[in-house]
């Protein structure tokens, strides 16, 4: 709903003679400094100055600052003090609208109109509500009434133009939008409508030509750049769109919405350092935009700044109430800082109103939950998603010849330096080219050496980031893919629902948020191994289990990994000191139960220390939160070092200071385990029953160290303590560990390639046999 359109602000003048404090507050408000106005108006209200207008203007100031709850309270006081004045009702209606409470908003706007039948902004706001509800004739009538009261107002002309477009009158809409742009050349909503109106009757190229002609005629009006950006974005050309947003922001630097649009485009392009200040500035200028808050939060999350994300969301929750999008994002933030139980609560709260996305959000945090993150619960959540989605499309036809060369599609945002890359590239390279051709459907552009390896082994490459699920599925079908492998799942850049369109006759889930069953009928197989899913686990999966002969991944150790060091506990001069445990997993995996187990280990080993290292620990509030949870678990802060993220090579080098890695649970380490092992650090782990709960078991079993895996927390503690007390044995394991891994199936790409080829062939043959 275009709230920004109807909620332009004008300070309500006092109707009575007032004292100096109140007048100063109003002046500050009029000058656009609501923060300065705040204490003055608060003092004025307390002193009884200005009648109810002190409270009203205080409410306006608070709204401008995005403090909606406080604004609501002040406006309610103003409504009580000024029962015949429309403005408190109108503003209260605006707040209700911002919070998505359409019914309440409508009642309040009507209340305002009762008090002032020609209240233009209330009419416009009601029109917007009617438009959002699809009542176009009613909306048009309301807009006409408002325009009768204020025929000069461009916002009303824009509202009329938008309604024209909704009625299918594209030319009238374009003319209306252009008329608004003539008066306000940098008006973002007018530019957007202009672009939409052009697209309603022209193809994108022709529409761009119209806008380019306008821009050539009037090169310094930001509106044409804005319209061009919209058209490029609609045509799936984000780089060209970004270029136009840049131009628009330079031409209209005072427009918060333009800054926001540029910020969002920069965020999309992965340029978060540039995007963050723009988004923050836009939020300051437009504090009532919920979407901006969520976008900032998402950006912080992608940047590994979950604590900052949480702060943004907590603030937004206070102002906007428990909106589903906020609850979902908050669940991710809470999870990422290690508050798994609260995360699941937040995710659960979003489910009733949040649709299928809320369920996806739920399954993304569920596997981390210390008690409820088990396989059955995950399966049930997956089933709930499947039930919401409904049946998948029918399978496409491909020539069903069991022995022919197969076209294998890879759907992923992780085809590069990403856990998916490190755990799949070597195995995919080893697939026999005579039997399989690989085709990438990349969901995130990546330029790095691992991405180059993927490019070198893929016969086809399709960048799909900005495409819809249906478009991606169509591209996969057009490439005549026989077997589609999903490498993203329910993860951040995953597009699992593409498989619901059934673009390939065989669809397989592999690495990439592979923490449990997907629950979806359109996923035929789960690529796995006998440790991840031993016999008897079938009922926990909606997919059939396609077990590889060894582990389910093939690790590609980076060439830049430094050599394995001597055991740190023995490396110092003189007597041996205590062992140093380490855990380089993200904080989402570090549950209270994990902290308790670690506390018991350190209690049994008075000399031992623990090092935690993960990006979110760069944030003070994340460290403080963890320290508090550590204290609750009895883990002594002075024996635990908390460190933030470092570049990958330095991260690997940091294992030089670790004697034993302690794996978290129930979501165990995946790539982290492989890296620790490659760096000579053995891993003590606790296996659960979910896929995520058995990653470490798979990797350790694959290199012949299954006896490092416990099955109960008690055994996990005892195992860690016993290993730490036998330094000679630990030193021996470390000395031979890289060679052991190097000789193991975990990194044996040719062997893995043979196993993968056989598994894919089996899946295909069964598909052929079914006809």
């Amino acid at each position: 709903m275009a709230w920004s359109m109807v909620c332009w602000w004008s300070p309500v003048p006092p109707v009575t003679e007032a004292d100096a404090g109140y007048r100063a507050g109003i002046a500050a408000l009029a000058q656009g400094t609501p923060d300065a106005a705040l204490p003055l108006l608060q003092a004025a209200e307390r002193a009884g100055e200005g009648g109810g207008f002190a409270a009203l203007n205080l409410g306006l100031a608070l709204m401008q600052l995005g403090r909606l709850s406080q604004a609501e309270a002040a406006l309610t006081r103003a409504a009580a003090a000024l029962p015949d004045h429309p403005e408190p009702y109108f503003r209260l209606g605006t707040i209700a609208g911002v919070r998505g409470e359409a019914g309440r908003a409508e009642a309040l706007f009507l209340a305002a109109l009762d008090r002032a039948p020609h209240h233009v902004t209330a009419l416009a706001a009601l029109a917007a509500l009617a438009e959002a509800a699809g009542h176009l004739a009613q909306a048009a009538d309301l807009v006409a009434r408002a325009r009768a009261a204020d025929p000069e107002e461009p916002e009303l002309e824009l509202a009329a133009a938008r309604l024209a477009l909704l009625r299918g009158e594209a030319e009238a809409a374009a003319a209306g939008a252009a008329a608004v742009l003539a008066q306000r050349p940098a008006h973002p909503a007018a530019a957007k409508l202009y672009a939409e109106a052009l697209l309603a009757r022209l193809d994108p190229t022709a529409a761009l030509a119209v806008v380019a002609a306008r821009a050539a005629e009037d090169p310094f009006a930001a509106g044409w750049a804005l319209a061009a950006a919209r058209l490029h974005a609609a045509a799936g050309q984000p780089a060209a769109a970004l270029a136009e947003w840049q131009a628009a922001a330079l031409l209209a630097p005072e427009q918060p919405e333009v800054l926001a649009l540029l910020g969002l485009a920069l965020d999309e392009a992965g340029r978060r350092a540039e995007a963050e200040p723009l988004l923050r500035a836009a939020i300051t200028a437009r504090p009532t935009d919920l979407d901006l808050r969520n976008r900032l939060a998402t950006m912080l999350w992608r940047n590994g700044r979950s604590a900052a994300m949480l702060e943004v969301l907590d603030q937004a929750m206070v102002e906007f109430g428990p909106q589903p999008t906020l609850m979902m994002n908050r669940a991710l933030a809470l999870n990422a800082v290690g508050r798994q139980a609260e995360a699941l609560e937040s995710a659960d709260a979003a489910v009733p109103a949040g649709g299928v996305l809320a369920l996806v959000n739920r399954i993304a945090v569920l596997p981390y939950h210390p008690e409820r993150g088990h396989a059955l619960a995950l399966r049930d959540c997956g089933r709930a998603i499947a039930a919401k989605l409904g049946p998948a499309a029918p399978a496409v036809h491909r020539p069903r010849e069991a022995g022919r060369r197969l076209r294998v599609g890879l759907l992923s945002g992780g085809l590069g330096r990403h856990p998916v890359g490190w755990l799949t590239v070597a195995g995919l390279e080893a697939l026999p080219a005579a039997e399989f051709s690989l085709h990438a459907f990349a969901l995130k552009p990546r330029e790095d050496m691992l991405a180059a390896r993927f490019r070198a082994c893929c016969a086809g490459w399709h960048e799909m980031q900005h495409r819809s699920d249906a478009e991606i599925a169509a591209a996969i079908a057009a490439e005549r893919i026989d077997i589609l492998i999903d490498l993203g799942g329910y993860g951040e850049s995953g597009r699992l629902f593409v498989l619901q369109h059934r673009p390939a006759p065989v669809q397989i889930k592999w690495v990439g948020a592979q923490f449990s069953t997907t629950g979806l009928g359109c996923v035929d197989w789960m690529l796995t191994d006998r440790w991840e899913t031993p016999a008897g686990f079938e009922h926990l999966y909606s997919e059939r289990l396609l077990r590889l002969p060894d582990g389910y991944v093939c690790y590609a150790p980076p060439a830049y990994a430094p050599p394995v060091t001597l055991l740190p506990a023995l490396a110092g001069q003189g007597a041996a000191k205590g062992v140093r445990f380490g855990c380089f997993n993200n904080l989402a995996k570090v549950t209270p139960a994990v902290l308790t187990a670690w506390a018991r280990i350190l209690a049994a080993l008075p000399e031992a220390t623990l090092e935690l290292r993960t990006p979110v620990l760069s944030e003070a509030s994340a460290r403080e939160g963890l320290l508090a949870r550590m204290a609750t678990a009895g883990l002594p802060a002075e024996r635990v070092t908390l460190l933030g993220g470092v570049p990958h090579q330095a991260l690997l080098a940091a294992y030089g200071g670790i004697d034993i890695a302690l794996d978290p649970f129930p979501y165990t380490g995946g790539l982290t385990v492989c890296e620790a092992l490659w760096m000579g650090v053995p891993v003590v782990s606790l296996a659960g029953d979910s896929f995520a709960g058995r990653h470490a078991l798979s990797h350790l079993s694959n290199i012949g160290l299954p006896d490092w895996v416990a099955t109960t927390p008690e055994a996990y503690v005892a195992q860690a303590v016993a290993r730490a007390r036998d330094l000679p044995a630990l030193a021996a394991v470390r000395a031979g560990l890289r060679a052991r891994v190097a000789a193991s199936p975990l990194v044996d790409a040719p062997r893995f390639g043979r196993g993968l080829a056989a598994a894919l062939r089996r899946a295909w043959s069964e598909c052929c046999a079914m006809g």
């Binding site: 332009w8 050349p185 310094f220 840049q246 330079l250 918060p256 080219a433 490019r455 893929c458």
Partner: protein, 502 residues
């Protein structure tokens, strides 16, 4: 809520009152974006800036740079020309003012990127004359000369640029490449090793080192370098390409195919790699119907200096076979009673066919080849009336008198489909004129096939059909051994056909 900004920009269609400040802001941002390597984002800003009344030369120059960075050399050239006119007047004097050098250099780079090498060299040379102390100008001139295969001059200017900034890795790299192409392999090795030691992550440096070793006759050393780099996780088209060439030399077709394929995937716009990958992979769906010009040019440009020696060592027989065919079919010419008349030698290379026929011709002898270094070698023989750098089938469209003889020795093996080519040959022959060409032989019924060495093979029955369709009467189609190769002889066809009535 407070969406109405305090001050709206003026609604006027004229240039805003605050134009100077706005222009400065736009220019600064465009400059910053270009520095950050974002020409696409700079362009819409610059498009607007150049519309300011009177325009701004700086904006024109930046716009040329942005267009160059976006791979739009023609538009970049136009923008640079506009800037140059602003700086040096519409018809630049013989000596351009130093201030105009920057525009000249941009235009030189644009022209080089568009493949107009001579104009690029002219611009860069003018810039060097305008600012003799500018090492960057010498670098641009050297790079253009290098691409034009004028190695000695290229080395001179690239060397000057290198001496001005000996630690600049790009200057080291480019000079090293020039040494390599000029067959000064030791100098190239030294410079490239220095470059790689200081900048081990510089893209292309190891591939160039390896290529230099390969060209210097050390394939094992080249392979070792490549394999070490791949082992370090470096993935580049150039590395795979060098390794594939090494493997071809070892007759490891499968290995070569794998690495050419990887190289082609990493450099999808490289026609040379794409052609070889398709040739070796042998997949009919991916097979082109002729070799890309870039492929042929790349092959022969690199080959020219040692082409004849190499062919002689391979027992190359085609020019001799062609002379014998002429003598057989035209006894009056063989006996000296008549001369051939105008002769067109398609794919003349270093001029071996011209040399074999020279005493029989008695008319203009025109040579056509894609490779400039090859043409230079042919010119040195002093027997060709004219030499054109052109692709064979395109050259047949140019103006020329009706030809008595068209020869194509080892040329049609770079074409799969022959129909169009033979039609064009027919159209340029005079009545009764001869077309004489060699092919690599495919089995009857196979039509045409792309072989693992990037060349096509043709079946005699297919050729006969094409000749008839083109209005050419087949006089001879003899099975001949064309030459030796590492893994045996190359079986071929020598075809002679006569132009019958139009």
């Amino acid at each position: 809520m407070s969406d109405r900004p305090a001050a709206m920009p003026a609604a006027s269609r004229a240039v805003p009152a605050a134009a100077p400040a706005l222009a400065t802001r736009l220019l600064d941002r465009a400059r910053l974006l270009l520095r950050q390597g974002r020409p696409g984002e700079a362009l819409p800003i610059l498009d607007r800036l150049v519309r300011l009344p009177g325009g701004d030369t700086a904006a024109l120059l930046l716009r040329a740079e942005a267009l160059l960075g976006l791979g739009r050399p023609d538009a970049a050239e136009a923008a640079a020309t506009a800037a140059l006119e602003r700086l040096a007047g519409p018809a630049p004097a013989v000596v351009v003012p130093p201030a105009a050098a920057v525009a000249l250099l941009l235009r030189a780079r644009a022209r080089q990127a568009a493949g107009s090498l001579d104009p690029a060299i002219d611009d860069a040379a003018a810039a060097v004359m305008a600012v003799p102390g500018d090492a960057g100008a010498k670098q641009v001139l050297g790079a253009a000369l290098l691409e034009q295969q004028r190695f000695d001059e290229a080395i001179w200017f690239l060397g000057e640029a290198f001496r001005a900034a000996p630690e600049d890795p790009q200057r080291q790299l480019r000079l090293g490449q020039a040494f390599m192409l000029a067959q000064r392999h030791e100098a190239a090795a030294e410079l490239l090793a220095h470059c790689a030691a200081g900048h081990p992550d510089l893209p292309g440096v190891v591939a160039l080192q390896a290529q230099n070793r390969l060209l210097a006759g050390d394939p094992a050393g080249a392979a070792a370098l490549v394999r070490a780099a791949l082992g370090r996780g470096v993935v580049e088209a150039g590395l795979h390409s060098v390794l594939a060439h090494v493997l071809i030399g070892e007759a490891d077709t499968e290995g070569a195919a794998q690495h050419f394929t990887a190289a082609a995937r990493l450099a999808p716009r490289n026609a040379y790699l794409g052609h070889l990958a398709a040739a070796l992979a042998g997949s009919p769906a991916d097979m082109p119907d002729r070799a890309a010009d870039a492929y042929v040019r790349t092959v022969f440009d690199g080959y020219a200096p040692r082409f004849e020696a190499s062919l002689i060592s391979l027992g190359y027989r085609v020019p001799g076979l062609m002379r014998q065919a002429v003598e057989r079919l035209l006894p009056e010419v063989a006996g000296g009673a008549a001369k051939l008349g105008p002769v067109l030698d398609l794919g003349c290379g270093t001029g071996l066919v011209g040399a074999a026929l020279s005493d029989l011709i008695g008319g203009p002898l025109v040579g056509v080849d894609l490779s400039r270094p090859m043409l230079e070698q042919a010119a040195a023989k002093g027997i060709y009336t004219t030499l054109h750098q052109a692709e064979a089938s395109a050259a047949l469209l140019g103006p020329m008198p009706p030809q008595a003889l068209i020869t194509a020795a080892d040329v049609f093996c770079y074409f799969g489909r022959l129909e169009l080519l033979l039609e064009r040959c027919r159209s340029r022959l005079r009545q009764g004129g001869l077309l004489l060409f060699s092919l690599e032989r495919a089995a009857p019924g196979e039509g045409w096939q792309l072989g693992p060495r990037g060349r096509f093979r043709h079946a005699a029955d297919y050729v006969a059909g094409c000749l008839a369709a083109a209005g050419l009467q087949s006089l001879e189609c003899r099975e001949e051994v064309l030459r030796q190769e590492a893994n045996g002889v190359v079986d071929g066809l020598l075809v002679v056909a006569r132009a019958t009535g139009h």
